[in-house]
C-alpha cells in the first residue's frame, strides 16, 4: 500500500467506527520490513526476511473506552475488530479522564531525514559482512573458542496515528544493527563470554572493526576475572549498564504508573529525591538519538520535558488521560502499540552533565561495572531494592587493579540516588542511542563475593 492507500484505510476505519456506534475513535497502524542474517561456524545459520503490519483501534462510547487489534486488514477483519472494541467498551469502567481528544495538527509526514535513510545495499554484501565479523572474532585471539551469536539485521518501520478529530500523522524510521559475541577458554580458568551490539541508521554507519575489538577485549579481560571480598564499594556503571539500571526503575517517572498506584514517587513532585546535581530530561528531538519522534501515540506534538532538576522531582511522563487524572501538566508522552491500551513512555533519556571531570570521578578506589545479569528479576521497582550479578573492574585512580567476576551488586535505588558522589561533565551515549548521561559515581553499594 502506498501512503494514499494507508490514509484511505485509516479514514475508512474511523468512519466505520462511528457508523457502528463509536462517538470518537483513534487508529494506529504499524508496518515494517526487516532482514537479518546470522552466522555460525563460518557459515550462514539463519537468513530472515519479513513484512508485517498491525492495525489497532481505540474507541469511546459514552464514558467508556474499548480497544482491539488485528494483523489482517481486509474489511471483514476490520469489522470484527471494530465490533469487538465496542463490545469491550461495555465492560470497561466509566472514565472521567480517558478520551480521544488530540486535535488536528499540521503534522502529516513527520519522517526525519536523520531517522530514515533508504538503503539499497546488496544482500550479498550484508551476508559477507556478517561472515567477516564472525571470522574476525575467531581469529582475533587464539583463546577464542567460538563466536556463538553473530547477526547483522536491518529494517524499515512506519508508524501511523489518526483520529476522528482529524489527526493523521506518520513517520518512517530505518535501523541497522550488528550483534556479536565471543566465548574464550584458557587452561585453568573459567570460560568467559561477552555480547556486544551496535546500531546505525544505514549499513555504512556500522563499524565492525570497533565492535570486534571491544568484544574480544572484554572477553579476554573476563577470563582473568576473580571474586572480591564482600563489602561496601563505590560503583561506576558503564553507560550501557547505567541505562539498563535506570530502565528498571522507569516507573518512577511514569504518570500511568502513578495513576495505577505503582509509582512510589506519586506524591513526591517538588521533593528532593536525589543528589543535587542530578537533572534528568526526556528529549524527543535530541541530535543523533534513536528515540526521537515528532508526535506521540495520541497524535500530540512532542517536546522536551524536565523530569528531575538538581535532585528535585519536577514532572512525570503524561498522556492526556493521566495528566487530567493527576491534575498535572500534559507532556505529550502517550505511548501505545496497536495491540495495547493507552499508556505513557519516554523518548530519549538525557542526564545533564555534572560539575566533576572524568578524572575526578575516577579518583580513589571503585568498581567499574560493565556487565550485569538478572537485571529485571533482581529489581523491585516499588521498594527500590535491587540485587544483580555483575562483572567489571576494580579500579584505583583510573587504573585497573583486577577483573571482578562472580559477584553481586545490591542496594536500594532510592538511597543510591541520594548517595551519588558525583557526576562527570562529559556525556556519553548508550549503544542503543536512547540514553545519554555522564559517568556517575554511586557510593557504598554492597558487593557480595568471596
Amino acid at each position: 500500500m502506498n501512503t494514499d492507500q494507508v490514509q484511505e484505510l485509516l479514514e475508512n476505519t474511523l468512519t466505520k467506527a462511528k457508523t457502528l456506534g463509536a462517538e470518537s475513535a483513534e487508529v494506529l497502524f504499524n508496518r515494517g520490513e526487516s532482514f537479518s542474517v546470522s552466522t555460525e561456524s563460518k557459515n550462514i545459520s539463519q537468513y530472515k526476511v519479513s513484512s508485517a503490519q498491525t492495525l489497532g483501534v481505540r474507541i469511546k462510547k459514552g464514558k467508556k473506552i474499548g480497544t482491539c487489534s488485528s494483523e489482517s486488514i481486509d474489511q471483514d477483519a476490520i469489522d470484527i475488530m471494530l465490533k469487538q472494541a465496542l463490545e469491550n467498551s461495555n465492560f470497561s469502567k466509566e472514565s472521567e479522564f480517558e478520551d480521544i481528544v488530540a486535535p488536528k495538527s499540521n503534522i502529516f509526514d513527520a519522517t526525519d531525514s536523520n531517522d530514515y535513510k533508504p538503503d539499497e545495499t546488496d544482500p550479498q554484501k550484508k551476508v559477507d559482512y556478517a561472515l567477516a565479523m564472525e571470522r574476525e572474532i575467531l581469529e582475533a585471539d587464539q583463546r577464542v573458542q567460538n563466536a556463538p551469536y553473530n547477526t547483522y539485521s536491518d529494517g524499515v518501520s512506519e508508524y501511523w496515528v489518526a483520529n476522528t478529530n482529524g489527526v493523521m500523522s506518520f513517520a518512517k524510521t530505518s535501523n541497522n544493527s550488528l550483534l556479536t559475541s565471543s566465548l574464550m577458554a584458557e587452561e585453568g580458568k573459567q570460560q568467559a563470554m561477552f555480547y556486544h551490539y551496535q546500531v546505525g541508521r544505514t549499513f555504512s554507519d556500522l563499524n565492525r572493526e570497533e565492535l570486534v575489538k571491544e568484544t574480544v577485549k572484554h572477553t579476554s579481560n573476563f577470563l582473568e576475572g576473580k571474586s572480591i571480598s564482600t563489602g561496601k564499594y563505590d560503583i561506576v556503571f558503564s553507560i550501557d549498564i547505567l541505562s539498563d539500571v535506570f530502565g528498571c526503575f522507569s516507573n518512577l517517572f511514569s504518570g500511568r504508573r502513578a495513576v495505577m498506584g505503582l509509582n512510589p514517587w506519586r506524591d513526591k513532585i517538588e521533593n528532593t529525591l536525589a543528589f543535587s546535581e542530578l537533572t534528568i530530561k526526556d528529549n524527543p528531538n535530541y541530535t543523533g538519538a534513536f528515540g526521537n519522534g515528532a508526535f506521540d501515540s495520541e497524535g500530540y506534538p512532542t517536546s522536551e520535558i524536565t523530569l528531575m532538576e538538581n535532585g528535585v522531582l519536577k514532572s512525570f511522563l503524561q498522556n492526556s488521560s493521566t495528566a487530567k487524572e493527576l491534575g498535572m501538566k500534559h507532556t505529550a508522552n502517550a505511548s501505545r502499540s496497536p495491540r495495547s491500551a493507552l499508556s505513557v513512555g519516554g523518548s530519549n533519556t538525557i542526564i545533564e552533565p555534572g560539575k566533576q571531570t572524568d578524572h575526578d570521578i575516577q579518583t580513589g578506589e571503585y568498581v567499574h561495572i560493565v556487565d550485569m545479569q538478572g537485571l529485571h528479576s533482581g529489581t523491585d521497582s516499588m521498594s527500590g531494592d535491587f540485587s544483580f550479578g555483575a562483572t567489571g573492574y576494580l579500579m584505583k585512580d583510573g587504573e585497573m587493579q583486577s577483573v571482578v567476576r562472580g559477584v553481586t551488586v545490591s542496594g536500594n535505588f532510592f538511597d543510591a540516588l541520594r548517595n551519588i558522589k558525583g557526576l562527570s561533565n562529559q556525556v556519553e551515549a548508550n549503544r542503543g542511542r536512547t540514553f545519554f548521561a555522564p559517568k556517575i559515581k554511586f557510593s557504598d553499594l554492597t558487593i557480595a563475593g568471596a
Partner: protein, 462 residues
C-alpha cells in the same frame, strides 16, 4: 483450515524448484484477551487477532526464514524466491502429497476463548482476588489481578508431506499485590495457569491466591536485609525449579549445544550432577502451562529424561539441532509465534522428587537462607553462569527459621551448583512462567521438590 492446501503445495513446490533440501510452512491465528482489574474496577480489556505465516527453507543446516501477514500466492512465492536467492541450486526433492498427522489432543480445553465465557464471570473471579487481598491487611495499597487468555490455531505443512494442525488454549491469572507501610513499599507476584480454557480457574482458589501473594508482600515489608556471601540455601518446591531451568535446562537445548556454546555440549553419558539429581522435560503432562500436543515443527511431543541419577542422558532437540548434532528429535521445536524460526526449547522441566523432608533440610543448616518463593532469572549458556531472584526469603539459624529477609539475587554456575545439590525433597510441585530465548517467549513450567544446595553466592546487602 488456515491456509488452503493448494497454496501450501504451490509454496513448497516453489521451494523445491529453488533446490531447497526442506521446506515447511507454519500458519498461526491467535485470538487474545487480557482483562485487567485495578483499583477494584475493570482497568483494561485488550483483545485482538494476530495472523501470519512463516516459511522456512533449509539448505543443509542453513535456515532461511521469512514471515508475512498475507496469504496471497504471489507474496508467498516472492518470499521463497527472496530467501533462496543466494542459495539456489538444481532441484532434487520430489513433491509429496500431504498426509494428515492424526493425533488426539492430550490437553483438552472446554472453555477456551473460542467458547465465549461470559465476561461477567471473569470479572467476578478477578474481583474476588482483589477484594480478599484488600481485606487481609490495611497495608495493601493496590491489587492488579489480570486474566490472560490465548486461543492459538496452528497449521503446519512440510516438504516431507506432513500436514498437522493443533488448537492451543492458554489461560493464566496474573496477580500482583502492592503493600505500603509508611514510606516503605513492596510488591509480590504469583501467576498460576495452564494449557487450558477458563476451566483452569476451577483449580485456582481466588482467596488462596490472594492470601499467598499477600503473605509474600507483607513478609518483604519490614524484613531485614538479606546477608551477603556464600552460604547454604534451601529452595522450596514449585518456582524454586527456576534454578534448574536456568542453571541446566538452557544448557541442554541444542540451540546452545549445536554451537558448542553450552558447557555440557560434550558431556553426554557423563555425571554432570550429584547422584541425588534426576531431571525431566515433559511436554505431555495434561493441561500444564508448558505442555504441547505437537511442537512447532509438527512432531508429537515427548517426555524426555535429561538427567538420571546425576548422569546426562538426553538433550532437547529440534530438527536443525538433530541435523547438526545427530541427537534424536524430542518434539521440542518451539517458538513464540510465526515471526520466529523454531528452536529447541524447554516445556515442563523439573527435578524429580527425592526422599528428604523440608524439615530435615532446614534442620541440617547452621546458618543459611530458606527461599520459599523464587522470581525469574537468566543464564549465559557459554559459561553456565546463571542468576535468579529469591522473592520470599527467611534466615535459617541453628537449624530453624528465624526471621524474614528482603529479596536477593543468587548466582553461580550450572556445573558447580548441580554438584552441590545434596538433598532432594518429596514435596514436588510445578509453577508456570514465560521463558525468553532465540525463538521468542514461550510458556514453560518449572518444578522441583525442595532442594538443599550446600553453597551458593547470595547477593544480599549485609
Amino acid at each position: 483450515m488456515l491456509l488452503e492446501q493448494e497454496k501450501a503445495s504451490a509454496v513448497i513446490d516453489e521451494a523445491i524448484a529453488q533446490g531447497a533440501d526442506f521446506c515447511d510452512i507454519y500458519v498461526e491465528k491467535m485470538n487474545f484477551q487480557n482483562l485487567k482489574i485495578l483499583h477494584s474496577d475493570v482497568e483494561e480489556i485488550d483483545t485482538g487477532i494476530d495472523f501470519g505465516l512463516g516459511i522456512r527453507l533449509l539448505y543443509g543446516t542453513k535456515v532461511l526464514y521469512g514471515y508475512t501477514n498475507r496469504t496471497d500466492i504471489e507474496e508467498l512465492k516472492r518470499i521463497v524466491r527472496t530467501l533462496s536467492a543466494l542459495d539456489r541450486k538444481e532441484p532434487h526433492l520430489i513433491s509429496k502429497s500431504f498426509e494428515d498427522l492424526s493425533i488426539k489432543s492430550i490437553h483438552p480445553a472446554v472453555n477456551g476463548l473460542d467458547h465465549a465465557v461470559p465476561m461477567e464471570e471473569k470479572i467476578n473471579f478477578l474481583m474476588q482476588i482483589d477484594k480478599h487481598a484488600r481485606s487481609l491487611d490495611s497495608r495493601i495499597s493496590q491489587v492488579n489481578a489480570t486474566s490472560i487468555e490465548w486461543f492459538k490455531q496452528v497449521e503446519i505443512f512440510n516438504s516431507e508431506g506432513l500436514h498437522a494442525t493443533d488448537n492451543r488454549n492458554y489461560t493464566r491469572i496474573a496477580n500482583m499485590v502492592i503493600a505500603q507501610d509508611g514510606g516503605e513499599q513492596a510488591s509480590a507476584f504469583e501467576g498460576p495457569g495452564g494449557l487450558s480454557g477458563w476451566e483452569v480457574t476451577n483449580r485456582i482458589n481466588p482467596k488462596e491466591l490472594a492470601e499467598n501473594v499477600t503473605r509474600q508482600v507483607l513478609t518483604k515489608l519490614g524484613a531485614d536485609p538479606c546477608p551477603a556471601g556464600k552460604m547454604p540455601v534451601i529452595l522450596d518446591n514449585g518456582f524454586g525449579g527456576v534454578i534448574f531451568h536456568e542453571a541446566c535446562g538452557h544448557l541442554l537445548e541444542t540451540t546452545s549445544v549445536q554451537k558448542k556454546a553450552s558447557v555440557f555440549w560434550d558431556k553426554m553419558d557423563t555425571m554432570i550432577a550429584n547422584p541425588v539429581v534426576s531431571a525431566v522435560d515433559d511436554g505431555t503432562m495434561p493441561n500444564q502451562w508448558g505442555s504441547i500436543n505437537i511442537d512447532d515443527e509438527g512432531m508429537p511431543t515427548q517426555k524426555t529424561q535429561l538427567i538420571k541419577d546425576g548422569k546426562l542422558t538426553n538433550f532437547l532437540v529440534d530438527k536443525v539441532g538433530n541435523l547438526k548434532t545427530g541427537h534424536p528429535r524430542s518434539g521440542s521445536g518451539r517458538k513464540q509465534n510465526y515471526k520466529f524460526a523454531p528452536a529447541s526449547r524447554m516445556r515442563n522441566t523439573f527435578i524429580e522428587p527425592g526422599d528428604s523432608s523440608l524439615d530435615e533440610m532446614i534442620g541440617s543448616v547452621d546458618r543459611g537462607i530458606y527461599c520459599k518463593k523464587m522470581g525469574g532469572g537468566s543464564v549465559s549458556p557459554g559459561t553456565g553462569e546463571f542468576n535468579f531472584a529469591a522473592q520470599e526469603t527467611y534466615l535459617i539459624e541453628n537449624g530453624k527459621i528465624s526471621k524474614p529477609l528482603k529479596s536477593a539475587t543468587l548466582i553461580g554456575t550450572g556445573p558447580e551448583v548441580l554438584q552441590k545439590i545434596s538433598m532432594v525433597g518429596k514435596n514436588f510441585d510445578l509453577a508456570p512462567g514465560m521463558c525468553g530465548s532465540v525463538s521468542g517467549a514461550v510458556p514453560t513450567t518449572v518444578g522441583q521438590p525442595a532442594l538443599k544446595i550446600d553453597e551458593i553466592l547470595v547477593g544480599g546487602q549485609e
